[in-house]
Symmetry: C2
Subunit: 346 residues, 2 copies
């Protein structure tokens, strides 16, 4: 029953103004700073607004105010469940700050560079949260024609952009220290691409904690497929060199690794211990429940959001924000079966 503009388009601010018998300026004021307007006028305008079903035109407002009211998060791959909770935390925090969160996929490889260029634009977003470390170094930190940027989770080596991330090194250290404590002396690592910053940091931590233990590398790229492949490699190794425990740099790889081993009749953790990284929601619902290094994902998202908000507002911010990882002890790790009658030695 509303008396809306039956016309093709929608009511604009001047229509509302006309109906209320005031100027467009006044309508604008009622909508953005009601305090400036006399009570009676305000009511008249409000009535006109609802009578016309008026809704602001974003393009016009953005053009005039030179801001968009939204922050864009660029992720390398929406398919990765790992990002889900991060984005959730981010969205909530941004909402509190009055921003909308929009997520775009950089579609790894292919159009990556192009997608990035398209969104790195102050006329599209007030700020950018970059969760993809594989962007061409570019001079992202020097160009003056970009909106504020913060990198989260991954980061870009060499660029001086603010970063929010897990202490990945410490995470790697925790995992290997745990396996060492259980008594494992030969530890497999299913890592990421070798130039990946997360890979490097976690590996550094792992090496630091290895001490006497030997680390054996399996190729990986964080995907299920590579976890499965690692399982085949592991199975094919001679007993002498085969690690008694494996540290996968993502829960997905750990999951696929375990599943493949199970298919081949190998039992986790009896025959081999497995520890993952991330603590995705599913990790505790796997068989066996996966021991892993937890990233506080919601906090990470929240932190990144907080920082981008501050940067947009021109406030000073921390260059690096490190969150602390935590070992989630579950059922996929155990002491190694003695190499030849092990347990009695204890």
């Amino acid at each position: 029953m509303n008396k809306r503009m039956a016309t093709p388009g929608r009511a604009k601010i001047s229509d509302v103004a006309k109906l209320a018998g005031v100027s467009p300026a006044t309508v604008s004021r009622v909508l953005s700073r009601p305090g400036l307007v006399a009570e009676a006028t305000r009511l008249a305008v409000m009535n006109a607004v609802s009578a016309t079903g008026y809704r602001m035109n974003h393009a016009a407002r953005n053009l005039r105010k030179q801001r968009t009211g939204s922050v864009v998060a660029l992720v390398p791959n929406l398919g990765n469940p790992f990002f889900a909770k991060i984005l959730e935390g981010m969205g909530r925090e941004l909402a509190r700050g009055g921003y909308d969160l929009l997520v775009a996929d950089t579609l790894e490889g292919e159009g990556r560079h192009r997608t990035l260029e398209r969104f790195l634009d102050p006329s599209r977003a007030d700020g950018i949260i970059l969760l993809d470390g594989l962007v061409p170094h570019a001079d992202l930190d020097q160009r003056d024609d970009l909106p504020p940027i913060v990198t989260a989770c991954e980061w870009i080596e060499g660029a001086s952009l603010p970063r929010v991330m897990l202490d990945n090194r410490e995470g790697g250290r925790l995992a290997v220290a745990h396996l060492r404590e259980l008594g494992h002396g030969r530890i497999g690592i299913i890592g990421g691409p070798s130039q990946n910053v997360l890979h490097q940091a976690r590996l550094a931590g792992a090496e630091a904690a290895a001490e006497g233990a030997q680390l054996v590398s399996f190729p990986g790229d964080f995907t299920l497929a590579s976890g499965q492949a690692a399982a085949d490699l592991w199975t094919a190794m001679p007993d002498a060199t085969r690690p008694s425990a494996v540290f996968a740099f993502s829960d997905e790889m750990a999951c696929a690794f375990m599943a493949r081993l199970h298919q081949r009749g190998i039992s986790v953790p009896r025959d081999v211990s497995v520890i993952g990284f991330d603590d995705i929601e599913l990790a505790s619902h796997l068989t066996p429940a996966l021991t892993t290094i937890r990233q506080p994902k919601r906090d990470l998202g929240r932190a990144a959001a907080g920082i981008i908000i501050d940067r947009i507002a021109g406030r000073e911010i921390a260059e690096v924000t490190l969150l602390v990882p935590r070992l989630m002890l579950r059922d996929s790790t155990a002491a190694p079966a003695g190499p030849a009658g092990g347990t009695d030695r204890a």
Copy 2:
């Protein structure tokens, strides 16, 4: 070494025009319809463009052209890995059509209604793909001030909006038919919220295929937690009424169900068969590999994208697009252990 606007802002079209010695109109033409401009002029303009580092202002363009060049997908929960592949297919198809895909989370519950209202706006998106069925019926299909909308996966009962979705009824039928064929006579159903459209359709299919078999309902809401809870209920049932097979309406519930049973020493599929729904990427990497009903997720995304593109272009479109489900036979289902010495009866 680029000679960029050193000034606070960026070069605008008039700066480029000045440098190239032409009018802004010509620059605009070079950028959008180069064919209209003489070769020499075109080159001069291109040079000026790269010399100034000019980049178009989206807000201005959107305002003038009355379009945004992007499509917004509204999902109820970014955390659900199920959406990942759908969004991926969607993004690619939209890119081919010249649109950007932006994803926003409706943040189930809380701000849902508000988020929706914010994005349902032609000045924000040229089209909306709604993956959340729980929006207030609203008169979404009748209002003339909204951009084109298509619902995908879920849909809104009663509204006459175009829909793209799996044939959920058929999916339910396939699952139960499979279990029947294996010889299960009492089948548990871990469903969704009872008013959920997916739940209803799948249940209808399940019932249609049940024939003599008895269906036993467990409460569920598609989450891991509810799958786990169902496992506890199942375990607590007396042998006489306990189903020998369970059909979960999501892979996540199936996964949590299996993991919990495993913890309690119950073996799948020996003691109970489990079938899921969705075929998320992880499904084949679970232990045991999960038998499930596959949704062609990428196709679904692609189809939804295609339809919104057509709607935006004003072309006629199909009101309902049904994709066909497929049974993915893996290791979590098997014939029931004979109620009392079963197998010999065959």
